[in-house]
Amino acid sequence: MPYLNTLQDTKLSKLHHLDIAYIAVLLPLLLIIKAPMLLFMGAVLALLLLRKESTPLLMTLMTALGIFAIFLSSYGSFNFAGLSRLKLFLELLIYILIFAVSLQRLTREINFYLLLSPLLILALSLFFFHSVVMLGYVIVEIFILLWVILSFRMQGSFQETFKMAGSMFAFSLPWVIVLFIFFPRISFEHASYGFKGEGERRMGHDGTMFLDNNALLVPSNKIVMEIGFQEKMPPSNQLYFRGSILYLDKKDHWEPMPLFIHRNYSQGYTDIEESIAYKVTLYPTLKRWLYMLDMPQVAPKVDNHKVSIDVDFITTTQKNIDETIHYLATSALKYSINTNIDKNTLNIALSVDTTSNPKSWEVAQKIQEQYTEPKRRADAIIELFKQSNLTYTLKPKALDLNNSTDSFLFDKKLGYCVHFASAFVNMARMSGIPARVVTGYKANPSNGIQNYLVIKEKDAHAWAELLIDNRWTRYETTAWASSMDSQAQELLDQQSNTQTSQLNLYMMYVKYQIETWILHYSHFRQLQLLDKARKDPLFIAQLVGTLLVILLLSFMLWRYFRQPLCHDKLICLMQPLLEKLQKEGYKRADRETMHQFLLRCHYEHNKETKEIDRLYQVIRYGGDNSPQTFEKLQGIVKRFK
């Protein structure tokens, strides 16, 4: 409390007001300013704290230091061509602005440009940040700047100026919301620079799948993707996000189709019964794959990336994804497809090393002889998997990589998705069914709320696709494990609902909604709203209702902040009594003393008002400021009817 009182009584000078504004706007820029410039700022701060006079020598020294800091900070980045790049240009502009402001601040003289600079710095800083955190900070920043202006203009106490800033802020909120929703946008591309936040990349598929110790197994909770379905989330068995397709079995790992193989292979939808649209936020993977729900329809548009979709419905970008990207995707859930597989692809999808895996070969040959239809053969392989007592484990024993399928199916019987998928594809090929491995992500619905889904690194998955009736069909190979070891079970339990993870998920959901509806709000979203309003009149009513509620809330806030402060403790204490008496028709006149007023009220409330009057006089004029007397008066005022 003493600190609050000190704060309340502190009267800030014009320079101090400016300093607060500068601190507020410079804080986020500290994340992007280079070390030499930071040192220069540190030196200026030290001089200000030491209250050094700005002598010509000092100013010359600081000017030289500033120019040197700008030179070092931009060394290697700038040339004449570099200046044409907005990011570098903006950086240079910020350095020059900080340099000029620092020198001016050292002189302790305020000019118009010094007053203007916090706003300029704020505007420039907005080029570099686009996160939810920055959104919160920008709002705080605007409030601080507003408070600084008001505090300077009003010359009032901290509490008064803070309340006034709150009142203005509350009053302006509905306008901001209405403008934000309805102000027309053009969806230009987002600039591709700015503060990238954590530089850590997510695990992404690199087009290979290892069966040995390099196997892809990342039991990490790091989020790879966030999905926002436009409608209801599809069921769990449809939440497969395609990464890469692997055709070649290299014993210890699987590889995609080599580029040199000429493929005359085409696939195309003949009919789409059910499709789903969704928005993907993909965090940096430093890989080229975009993950789309089985089966992708068209290549999505991604800002600053060229995206292509190949014949196997694998979506890739031309350059690695080194920053968070957002794309709108559409996938077919129920469809008819026309697959014209070429000879080369077919050969590779059937290729199998006949010298290895003798046991599997023998079983596969029997299945092939027994069943003619590929579907029946696949069912027989599934039956074999089911009867093999395979255990799903995250720590499998090392397989014999020369005979990995034999080793997995008949010897070790332990593995996770990659081992299951690899063995199944090999068995299918041995039985004469064209098959391939697909890697990607299998989303866990427990990581979702309503139409929002989080995909984590530990959701990385591999499954198989078999060409049955001239159509690639997905097989979830881990589904045939007879049991699961404790560690894998623990991992699954982690996924399911502990309170912390649920809370975390809700926070992610809120963050995602803010990102979707605020940070990435665009022309597209406006059209979506318009479309919804056209179709659903109730939506318009809801929207108008919400806006009215916001208006009401902001008005209440404004009223609350506009309430005059009670400076006199005794008058504050008497306030409820005055209000009660006013309701009864007794209003205290402007220049009427409390004694005169209470005398007027004696007629009806003789006993109480007499005692109140007495205590009031004792405190006001008798010098009795004891807490007991205050409490006594407060008690009577409270009980007054």
Partner: protein, 289 residues
């Protein structure tokens, strides 16, 4: 609703004008708009909308801040021509909340009033120098406020401005010197004591004319002298022109008031006696002469 009604009423009373900060807001809005539009930066859009909304909200708040004030000229003290004086205005805040950053303006002159508490009246002075005696009237009196953001200048005209009387500038020979010259010393024949050299300050009645005829200028001295009880000023003797005379008389009147000395003034058409008229009435007569 009450607030809105009040606002509409106030809007008619209060003049509003732009400042250089309003130009700054416009430039800022344009800059933010370009920044936001080019890259669809929603953070910039939000900032843009906040700047717009806050600047917009500043209008009604500033209006409400000054609109609840009532000011009127509160005559107090005396004002003399060409002399610094203070004009007082009583400013009443009818709102429950304080009014902030108020300044008082009379023509080009201004004075900071600052904050006026809710339901309170504050008397605010403004220092002024009026060049001429007589009635002074000025309608261009107003309260001004840049609250809350300095983006709008709110001006509340003070109805009636000020209408006051300016007395002549008190200047001329101080009363002491006048008294030396003018003191009506006289003595009886029997008390004649002798002659003394003329110092230049003695009145003509004391000059010993026979000695003047002999070529010496002497004055008569008496053993017993009586001083006139009342100061008698003559308008015509007080200066070379009317303004000078009025200024001189004004100075003497004020000095007499200070030393509680009664006086009379022989005006061309009037005889003023301080015992019969108040000093203010005498000064007013001078002011209106």
């Amino acid at each position: 609703m009450k607030f809105l009604l009040k606002l509409i009423q106030t809007h008619r009373r209060v003049r509003q004008g732009g400042t250089r900060y309003s130009a700054l807001v416009v430039v800022m809005l344009f800059g933010f708009f370009l920044e936001a539009y080019m890259h669809n930066f929603n953070l910039v859009y939000i900032t843009l909308f906040f700047v717009f909304a806050i600047a917009y909200v500043a209008g009604p708040l500033g209006l409400y801040n000054i609109g609840e004030l009532e000011a009127k000229f509160a005559p107090r003290g005396r004002l003399f021509a060409n002399t610094k004086g203070e004009l007082y205005f009583a400013i009443t805040n009818n709102s429950k909340t304080p009014a902030w950053a108020i300044s008082l303006h009379v023509n080009t002159l201004s004075s900071e009033v600052g904050r006026i508490e809710g339901k309170e009246t504050k008397e605010a002075p403004i220092t002024i120098t009026l060049p001429k005696r007589g009635e002074a009237k000025e309608d261009e009196c107003y309260l001004q406020s840049f609250f809350p953001l300095s983006t709008v200048r709110f001006v509340l005209p003070i109805e009636g401005g000020y209408d006051t009387l300016v007395y002549p500038q008190p200047q001329g020979i101080p009363l002491r010197s006048f008294l030396q010259k003018q003191a009506m010393h006289f003595g009886e024949e029997k008390d004649f004591d002798g002659l003394a050299p003329y110092s230049g300050a003695e009145p003509l009645s004391r000059i010993h004319w026979p000695s003047v005829a002999k070529g010496e200028t002497s004055v008569k001295t008496f053993a017993h002298e009586q001083t006139t009880q009342e100061l008698a000023f003559n308008f015509m003797d007080a200066g070379t022109n009317d303004e000078e005379r009025l200024s001189q008389l004004c100075l003497w009147v004020l000095e007499c008031e200070k030393s509680h000395q009664p006086f009379t003034i022989e005006m061309p058409n009037r005889f003023i006696q301080s015992k019969k008229e108040s000093i203010d009435a005498i000064l007013e007569y001078f002011a209106r002469y």
